[in-house]
């Protein structure tokens, strides 16, 4: 194995961290230089990630590639074990792409109160944490990356957020921490129960598949780990930190939060909870599916009641993640593929929606639907048009990326895994709830479009000299807009990557 193959992942993942350090050394008054460095480092990391993706063997199926497994903290048996497979690759690459686009966006917009240096350094730190989560195959390493994400996001919300930022930041931090405590507990339990003691995800997986963990143990530990992931996703009813965090966070904070961070939770289910604790997964699956179905309908109804555009989109995220969780709960290959597709699609689409809302706010200085008063497509045809397009993508129009994740999740709920055969009617009921959810979803998005984008410009905005979409915005948006169409028309771009490893993983459930 070449040096490149052993180190590529680490280079890409740690480059942003290096960037954060470099930016910290730049004098405070060199604002443009700082922004440029942000673009350079996220860009370089993205190039490495894309180069790795180019060298990835897509026909390999389940195995890890670009693996590095070396001594790290021998005292507790923690190893630096990183690698990538078809399940993590899409999310890992998406992390770099979205972070880069956020850095580009920051070239023009640094939210109040400025402090560009700290803003970008934290964003880069965040990027390393998120990317690391998707490549860690050691539970300690995973946990460190997982927790690493919390701190920069806490400050991004707490310093650069809007009016109610402190409440939102603390709520976000403590709620996630509360969840991760249980997750850590579960990790420790797995470590101490496995023989030999190990934090290695693959070894634990083999150990679990070999029947090493008793059913009772699995039930308890799955519950603990799942709680940690569930808060992060967030699943209903653990979602209430999300609307606050999103509403208060600066634009790129929202983009990265929705685009990547939420997926850490769903990824945790797929990577850790399901394969290591299959008995637990089987027992909890109907509950997870039920909460997912509730989330879909509940979030859609809540969206209808929102007056703040950003809060509306935050709630829509809860619903979309509900579809992802429904797919996971079926324990089928179709369902897991759907979930990963849903994660990526939601990352692109909802990230893009937050960009749109951010740009609307940047011009109007309000996000209240009633104050915007309509006519966006008349006042700013390009911004209004892009916003409408992305909203339509988000409601799951076929031919665009949002469709496949949802429809395949519903399909998988029609026939969940063999081991859930006795729960068939229940899962069909979830499917019907999901179907009703898609109608409500169309309802709130179209209503939003009608109230914000359509109609005529109200008197108060008629003379305001707002610029339409500017060059920097186009640069950071076009890749996402193209992806929305490309993934919708050629779902194989993604399913072709995930189907093999998912199939290998799901052999555990006979689905």
């Amino acid at each position: 194995m070449s040096t490149w193959e052993r180190s590529a992942i680490t280079i890409a993942t740690l480059l942003p961290l290096v960037g954060a350090g470099v930016i910290a050394l730049v004098p405070r008054d060199r604002d443009r230089l700082v922004r440029g460095l942000g673009i350079v480092f996220t860009g370089a990391a993205m190039v490495v990630a894309l180069a790795l993706a180019a060298g990835f063997d897509y026909g390999a199926g389940g195995g890890l590639q670009f693996e590095l497994n070396t001594r790290w903290i021998p005292a507790i048996g923690a190893r630096y074990h990183v690698g990538i497979d078809g399940i993590s690759l899409p999310l890992w690459v998406l992390t770099f792409v979205l972070s880069f686009l956020c850095a580009v966006y920051t070239w023009r917009y640094v939210p109040s109160p400025g402090k560009t240096k700290a803003f970008l350094a934290l964003t880069l730190l965040l990027e390393t944490g998120m990317a690391g989560t998707f490549i860690a195959f050691d539970l300690v390493l995973f946990f460190i990356f997982w927790e690493l994400v919390l701190v920069p996001m806490y400050f991004l919300i707490g310093i650069w957020g809007s009016a109610n930022r402190e409440y939102a930041a603390i709520k976000f931090f403590l709620y996630t921490l509360f969840g991760s405590v249980f997750m850590l507990l579960g990790f420790l339990a797995m470590y101490f129960r496995s023989t030999p003691h190990t934090f290695d995800i693959l070894q634990l997986q083999a150990y679990g598949a070999g029947g090493g963990f008793t059913r009772t143990f699995q039930l308890i530990v799955f519950g603990a780990v799942a709680l940690g992931f569930a808060v992060k996703v967030p699943m209903w009813p653990f979602h209430t930190w999300l609307p606050d965090a999103h509403t208060e966070a600066p634009t790129i904070g929202s983009v990265l939060l929705a685009g990547i961070m939420l997926k850490m939770g769903t990824y945790g289910f797929v990577r850790i909870a399901l394969p290591i604790l299959p008995e637990g997964a089987k027992a909890y699956a109907p509950w997870i599916g039920g909460l997912a179905a509730i989330a879909i309908v509940y979030a859609a109804l809540a969206c209808l009641a929102q007056k703040d555009l950003k809060r509306l989109i935050a709630f829509s995220s809860v619903g979309h993640m509900g579809f992802v969780m429904l797919g996971i709960a079926t324990l089928t290959d179709v369902g897991i593929n759907a979930a990963i597709f849903g994660m990526v699609a939601h990352g692109i689409i909802t990230g893009m929606l937050f960009f749109c809302v951010g740009s609307v706010y940047d011009r109007y200085h309000t996000r209240m639907i009633a104050e915007l008063g309509g006519g966006l497509m008349q006042k700013l045809p390009y911004l209004g048009g892009v916003f409408t397009f992305v909203a339509i993508a988000s409601l799951g129009l076929p031919g665009l990326a949002g469709f496949w994740g949802e429809v395949m999740a519903l399909l998988s709920a029609y026939r969940p895994a063999e081991v859930l055969a006795d729960q068939l009617p229940l899962f069909r009921a979830f499917m019907v709830a999901g179907g009703i959810g898609t109608i409500l979803t169309a309802g709130y998005f179209l209503w939003m479009i009608q109230r914000v984008n359509m109609g005529t410009v109200p008197e108060r905005w008629r003379e305001s000299p707002f610029p339409d979409v500017v060059a920097v915005e186009w640069v950071s948006w076009v890749p996402l807009l193209v992806s929305i169409v490309a993934l919708g028309v050629f779902p194989r771009l993604l399913i072709g990557i995930t189907d093999g490893p998912v199939g290998a993983l799901m052999g555990l459930f006979g689905g």
Partner: protein, 666 residues
């Protein structure tokens, strides 16, 4: 990167599997692809193209029309069905493909869709001239055409579903084309949501059928084969069929989901002609006929229900057509009613299905003609209301004559297209001994003739009651009218027994069926048409105010209020969900769920303060003395209350370690 990811697509391109393709049928996909290319080109380059981009639409759809005629020729000369597909992607065991299945029905539909679309593309040059979003209008028109053609050629249900929903989206943006007006965007939303209520069952029906194949395919031919071979339980087939039918109820505006179509008239009139009369709304009928084996092999109650919904729609919507003043709404209810005819006939077995398709075929031409004619009138009078028209036969002769031909066809007067297709419907019902449906549809035919007469008389006869000086429309608008009128005169003979009824040699389910001419049925249907026309003439031969129809009293009120369905939906479903339920959910989120979270946080803080106080008093107190503690505790309390996160974190991690130790001991 590209080298790795693109092979998936390139590989797909090489896997074209031309099993039995022959003649031009192998290029059916091109007919659908051309307008898609046009949509993209107009979107990006339309504004820079002289004329605003319409030329791309006209060229591609025109080419598609010629190609479609070539494809139809394959079947005219006795060719058989062909198919081809490329792999799209695989998920688990489910193999998804992009494919085309071309039989006589496909070919006929290709011709119909491209012909009407071409007329509408040309017509809109004049009708939409000067519109602020002229170019965008053509983007949507071309995209719609591509989506509809995709539905027509799709050989599998997922591909069909994609075209189906994209059509719905185009319908939405075109109904709301003038979105500055609130009523237009509301109508657009109503159309999208109402049809999606049907689309969800449709999707689930697709799931049922995919599951029936063992999660391997959604190919329509394979599913049909499986179902016809009796390899799927009847109950499952029935479930699949009835769920699929949900999609048709929404898309083809059948009772009780028909309510969106009259409001869809808020869109520009060419859109009403293309989407809301000739093509998209017929897609539901097409889908039922395309998956007909599923319906045929389901429990009998499924087709009985289909027939019942169809006939209720045909009759109920026809009655609503009697009381409209908006000329487009008359046509909208007439469209719903005629779609009801087609759906009804699905209950009469394969012969009924074929007759339904013949009616779909003729209806597309004469209803597109009527809508474009009404558009010409609206263009001239600047109003939709017939009460502000009148006497237009003198000022708009071309529109008048073509509109009259379309109206007589709609009424079912021989030898126009509508007569032959309606006659075939009744013959099929007669052969199947569906007497109830037979008499009800015959009655509905008289109603149709009555409101048609009313419409023509109020619009073109008497004295002009509006303002300004109406004039004949430009050639780009009258040209398509003349073309469609010509088609309306001619296409009926394709299904006439006297000419050998070639249509039924192209469109059949398993075997071509002999078409018989039943003189007494033809006489009866002609009598119904003439009776309705005569009745209409008697009541409306001169303008009277108020409309004599108001003398029906309670019945008129019922009809004028559209059977109160809109009110029931609005007050019973939309408002309670949108304003009531959503507010309750939001309350539960803010007060209940968040209350628990905030309450827990408060309790935790309260506890930590207690612990700290204990800590101060017991431990520190012993060391530092009581005196200093008060000030120190105050500082710590401020520290905690300022929300210092690290401190919480430290507490939590300490807890974890303790719990972990406990946990590993159990």
């Amino acid at each position: 990167m590209t080298a790795v990811i693109t092979p998936a697509i390139v590989r797909a391109g090489e896997e074209v599997h031309l099993a039995t393709s022959a003649g031009l049928t192998r290029y059916a996909w091109l007919v659908a692809l051309l307008p898609l290319i046009s949509a993209v080109v107009i979107l990006f380059f339309g504004k820079r193209t002289p004329g605003g981009g319409w030329i791309w639409g006209v060229l591609t759809v025109g080419t598609g029309f010629v190609l479609s005629l070539g494809i139809l020729w394959h079947f005219v000369t006795g060719g058989g069905p062909t198919g081809a597909a490329v792999d799209w992607f695989t998920i688990g065991t489910l193999r998804m493909q992009l494919g085309q299945y071309v039989d006589g029905l496909t070919a006929v539909m290709l011709v119909v869709v491209t012909a009407v679309s071409l007329c509408v593309h040309v017509y809109s040059i004049g009708y939409m001239h000067g519109d602020a979003r002229f170019t965008w209008f053509y983007v949507a028109l071309s995209l719609f055409t591509a989506a509809m053609l995709n539905v027509v050629i799709a050989d599998n249900l997922f591909q069909l579903l994609i075209g189906w929903e994209v059509m719905g989206f185009c319908s939405y943006i075109l109904i709301g084309h003038w979105w500055e007006e609130h009523v237009n965007s509301s109508s657009a939303i109503k159309a999208f949501i109402t049809t999606r209520i049907g689309d969800v069952p449709f999707l689930f029906g697709v799931f049922v059928l995919i599951a029936a194949t063992g999660f391997t395919t959604s190919n329509i031919q394979e599913i049909s084969h499986l179902v016809a071979g009796g390899e799927v339980a009847r109950g499952v087939v029935a479930l699949g069929a009835i769920l699929l039918f949900g999609g048709a109820v929404g898309k083809s505006a059948q009772f009780p989901l028909h309510v969106w179509l009259p409001d869809a008239m808020a869109g520009p009139t060419p859109v009403s002609a293309l989407i809301h009369a000739a093509t998209m709304v017929a897609a539901g009928v097409y889908m039922v006929g395309r998956t007909y084996e599923v319906f045929l092999h389901a429990d009998p109650w499924v087709l009985q229900l289909v027939g019942a919904i169809g006939v209720v729609t045909a009759f109920g919507a026809g009655l609503l057509g009697l009381v409209q003043d908006d000329i487009k709404r008359v046509l909208a209810y007439s469209t719903i009613s005629q779609l009801g005819y087609m759906i009804t006939l699905m209950a009469a077995g394969p012969a009924g299905r074929n007759a339904a398709f013949f009616h779909l075929f003729t209806h597309a031409f004469f209803k597109a003609l009527l809508f474009l004619g009404s558009g010409s009138v609206i263009h001239a009078c600047h109003t939709n209301n017939m009460s502000e028209m009148g006497g237009l036969r003198r000022t708009m002769p071309v529109t008048f004559w073509t509109f009259t031909i379309g109206s007589l066809a709609l009424a079912g007067v021989p030898p126009l297209a509508g007569f032959f297709s309606k006659d075939e419907l009744l013959v099929a019902l007669e052969h199947d001994h569906q007497w109830l449906l037979f008499w009800l549809l015959l009655g509905a035919a008289a109603v149709t003739a009555f409101y048609t007469a009313r419409m023509v008389l109020q619009t073109f006869f008497g004295e002009y009651r509006g303002h300004g000086h109406p004039h004949e429309s430009p050639a780009s608008m009258t040209g398509p009218l003349v073309a469609l009128a010509g088609a309306t005169v001619l296409v009926g003979f394709l299904g006439f027994a006297g000419t050998g009824a070639p249509f039924f040699d192209w469109v059949y389910l398993e075997e071509p069926e002999a078409v018989t001419f039943v003189p007494w049925v033809a006489l009866l249907s002609t009598a119904a048409a003439l009776l309705g026309l005569a009745g209409g003439y008697a009541v409306y031969r001169e303008w009277r105010e108020p409309d004599p129809i108001t003398r029906l009293g309670a019945l008129h009120r019922l009809l004028a209020n559209k059977y109160y369905l809109d009110d029931i939906y609005w007050r019973g479903i939309v408002r309670p969900v949108r304003d009531g339920l959503s507010a309750a959910v939001n309350w539960s989120n803010q007060v209940v769920l968040d209350g628990i979270v905030n309450g827990a946080a408060k309790v935790a803080r309260w506890l930590s303060e207690g612990v700290r106080a204990l800590d101060e008093e017991v431990v520190d107190g012993a060391v530092n003395g009581v005196g200093r503690t008060a000030g120190y505790a105050g500082a710590v309390l401020r520290y905690v209350q300022s929300g210092n996160v690290q401190r919480y974190a430290a507490f939590l991690f300490a807890g974890v370690v303790i719990l972990a130790v406990i946990f590993t001991r159990i």
